[in-house]
Subunit: 411 residues, 2 copies
């Protein structure tokens, strides 16, 4: 339903027709959406996709991801343009439906409230958090700054929604990492766990017990409690998308123009594992696997990320609780991914000591029925490996720094 990559068959033409009629219906009721953190790796293509789908989008971003590039002395392999330039350029492709402002919701709550009051959004999409687990573990300052930034942003957004208009739908990018990576409670459900209390023998549904692996993941667990509370007290409609590890770079809309390109991180701090492997492959650098590589993780392609967020937006929650979806296409072990890339591009796999305190290997099974019920038809790694990533990695050759590949802190 939401796939852009269809072969031309009778069936797929029908599908396209359905898509078109859906789009037309949608264009009759476009939504007003604030995308916080819309200059980042997931936020930017999401903002583009929503604007291109007919919604009116306002990006708010504190540019922290660009500042962290300076701090870490690294940069995107792709040449991303300035925030203002990319927003202005995007506007020419989406008929004026995109706007942007530099604003830090974690620090400027009063200005944020004014913006919400004047823009009067139907929904707010919240990517406005420090998103790297290794970064959050670099030092005492990084631990505390990640907590302050991430908690304050969520708390301020919720509190302003409660003040201005509790009917605003909040969509938050969570992480599969809130569950921990184990089958301690069986297949991972979507946010809630059915239990029996031993003392009373009564059945209950509880929020899945948090088991975060880093300070970053922990802040997303704190978010969950904030969501539960604000839902209970103000009835704010909330969707929390527990996302897997994102791979890929481009979406249909970032390919509209070279200058709309998404950022591409390959370093040990911000580069996600599969993207890192592909850059290493391009540069003939061995694929560095932490420990045994037996860690099984959940993955999703960036083009699915933006579609899933749109599905959540266009289908607000109807249940009497915070809605939680696992935004996940598939699970893979890190070693399997490395072997896949290794087989295809002829670079060796190299095992290095795992900097993280985690199980050497784990099993993982994840429910993703919620988004599937809204039409999510996931792109799988084996079907779409990954020419565009390789092209972009090659294009960025001049900026590749070998010493950034293994710069993760230990914890």
């Amino acid at each position: 339903m939401y796939s852009d990559d269809v072969d031309v068959t009778a069936e797929s033409l029908l599908e396209i027709e359905r898509n078109v009629s859906e789009r037309q219906e949608l264009l009759r009721k476009p939504m007003r959406v604030i995308v916080i953190g819309g200059d980042g790796f997931c936020g930017w293509p999401t903002a583009l996709h929503l604007a291109n789908s007919g919604h009116k989008v306002l990006i708010l971003d504190n540019l922290s991801r660009r500042k962290i590039d300076d701090e870490l002395e690294t940069r995107s392999l792709t040449q991303i343009t300035s925030f203002t330039e990319r927003v202005e350029l995007a506007n020419t492709y989406v008929e004026g439906r995109m706007d942007g402002a530099v604003l830090d919701v974690s620090q400027e709550k009063d200005r944020f409230r004014e913006v919400v009051n004047s823009f009067w959004p139907d929904a707010i999409i919240h990517f406005g958090q420090q998103r790297s687990a290794p970064y959050s573990m670099l030092s005492e300052n990084h631990r505390c700054n990640t907590v302050n930034q991430n908690v304050s942003s969520t708390s301020n957004i919720l509190s302003v929604i409660a003040t201005v208009n509790p009917e605003i739908h909040l969509i938050h990018l969570g992480t599969m990492g809130v569950y921990g990576y184990s089958k301690a409670f069986g297949k991972i459900p979507e946010g809630y766990l059915d239990i029996t209390v031993n003392e009373t023998c009564e059945q209950q549904e509880i929020l899945y017990p948090a088991n975060p692996g880093s300070i970053y993941h922990m802040t997303k667990c704190l978010d969950q409690l904030l969501f539960q509370f604000y839902y209970k007290n103000w009835g704010i409609p909330i969707t929390d998308l527990h996302q897997g590890i994102v791979w890929g770079i481009s979406t249909k809309e970032t390919l509209f123009d070279m200058k709309l390109v998404n950022r591409f991180d390959y370093d040990g701090i911000y580069g996600t594992v599969l993207n890192r492997f592909l850059v290493q492959a391009v540069h003939g650098y061995p694929l560095t696997v932490y420990g045994t590589g037996g860690q099984r993780r959940a993955f999703i392609h960036i083009s699915d990320t933006v579609k899933c967020v749109r599905m959540a937006l266009e289908n607000p929650p109807e249940e009497n609780r915070v809605r939680i979806f696992n935004q996940v296409a598939e699970t893979q072990t890190v070693l399997d991914l490395a072997m896949l890339v290794s087989d295809k591009y002829g670079v060796p796999v190299q095992q290095v000591p795992n900097p993280r305190k985690e199980a050497e290997s784990n099993d993982l099974e994840v429910s993703n029925e919620g988004l599937k019920s809204l039409g999510f038809d996931p792109v799988l790694i084996k079907d779409k490996l990954m020419k565009e990533v390789l092209d972009l990695a090659k294009a960025g050759e001049d900026f590749f720094r070998k010493d950034r590949v293994l710069n993760s802190p230990k914890w």
Copy 2:
């Protein structure tokens, strides 16, 4: 064991002897303790008690409670002296074992680290949080400021402990309010709940599912996740004391000198319910019960608070998890408390609309075996009602403001 109120019988003399020999043993190994928030209602008498018990105490406080008095245009009915004056005076009673500094751990992490490095404590006791549920619900700013203050203080303290010395025992004042006030899961255990996962039929122990009733209570739920994470990653020994509602004002040590008196709040924002009733009784003001008064809550006398903290300090955790104690003497319904005061002092009970979103009435049963196993012998309301509170309430007559009694926000 830790009781100061013993009748002189053969048995009690034996008991006293045991106490003395314990004290003597203790005096051979005094501990170095930082008390954060040691200028507040629970912090001040705790700091005094620990110093008087032979420990070396350093109070750090940002004086926020005094500033909030100015903001709310209310004040303690007792005439508390300035922070510097009370610390200096206390010192003359505790042989120089008390020191104090104005420092905000939520804002001044670097200075805090320096203090921890130079003082080199065995334990840090953390009262450094905004502690009023109604205050946390006053407005958008109060919601966000309570979250920022409370989360940053805990996060900074933990992160500094991890940096400087992960063997420092952190003792935190939590709240019974993290559990919610229901028997949804049976008798409330001490922090952890035994469950069976329905899908796998496996038995598990999980952190008790959070169900906070206010932003304030919610911050204490966030604290719990921070504790779990820092324990898992750095092995920091942590005791979280889930305290009931405190009543009473004085402890043995605050009675050493008029100028060591504890603060006494009677307003709808900071006054705890039983203390409020007593002040209302003194002024012939009807005892205002929210709703039916069927809300059952857990209570503890302030002199027990300070003893329990000392027990936790002198008996560091030995288990392989965050240690959680319910710091609770008994449970009572609000209406029963009002009737008790009404019967004794002849003032009527008046039911007013409940400003809080909560059940009209609830049952509540609480385990407090942990502290009991360390010798906690609770003072009960019916046995110790409450002459000292009345005396202090009368003494503060000049400062009583009727319009402050019902100033709680609605939520």
